[in-house]
Symmetry: C2
Subunit: 120 residues, 2 copies
């Protein structure tokens, strides 16, 4: 086994790595957001998923204001070390539209179909 060092991940030109959050029970993909090296370390340390908000340029402790927290169950690193998969326990909706997942719009026969109402 190798000790895990967040600095050994491959970050983009902005110092960020994409992180996919997946409901560890249902397997549903909830969202994708970004982390910097400190957000990765903080997430592992606290068990509370913490992203880096590109719009606010600040740490984003998921659910801090909404209560819709993500508890980290397991972090996975991909083969290229440039993407993370977070298996999480999600309290309430993951999406700011109040839906369980951000991926509620499907492309079907070249139309956009909203598959889930807010609250769903």
């Amino acid at each position: 086994m190798t000790p895990f060092d967040p600095a050994t991940l491959r970050y983009d030109a902005n110092g960020l790595i994409p992180a996919i959050a997946q409901d560890q029970e249902t397997g549903e993909v909830l969202m994708l957001a970004w982390m910097n090296v400190d957000a990765v370390a903080q997430t592992l340390e606290t068990g509370r998923v913490t992203y880096w908000s590109r719009s606010r340029q600040a740490f984003w402790v998921k659910g801090e204001s909404s209560g819709h927290v993500q508890r980290l169950v397991e972090m996975r690193v991909d083969c290229d070390r440039d993407c993370l998969l977070l298996q999480v326990d999600q309290t309430g909706p993951a999406c700011h539209t109040n839906r369980r997942t951000c991926f509620y719009t499907a492309v079907r026969d070249n139309d956009e179909v909203v598959t889930m109402a807010p609250g769903g």
Copy 2:
């Protein structure tokens, strides 16, 4: 319903959008790769998942050389329109290391643990 136009997605400064591939049967997250606007259109048109290779700067029809193709079952767009979720039928391993998924390394107690052997 709104007709889907790949040009309405939000691409990054390099004209790319991240695309998560998920096994539509098991829910397993297989990989993350990138698409440009033409790769999105081509994937929808052909039903064969086609990425944009950042290293080769060329279209990457998944499985073209390996035979490990991804057949698109459904494309999903996230709330911010800056990420795609591809629900796919994956033939063979998705990862170039010959594993089913690229996310075979777990972080457990600050150690990296390989959870799956090649071929698994």
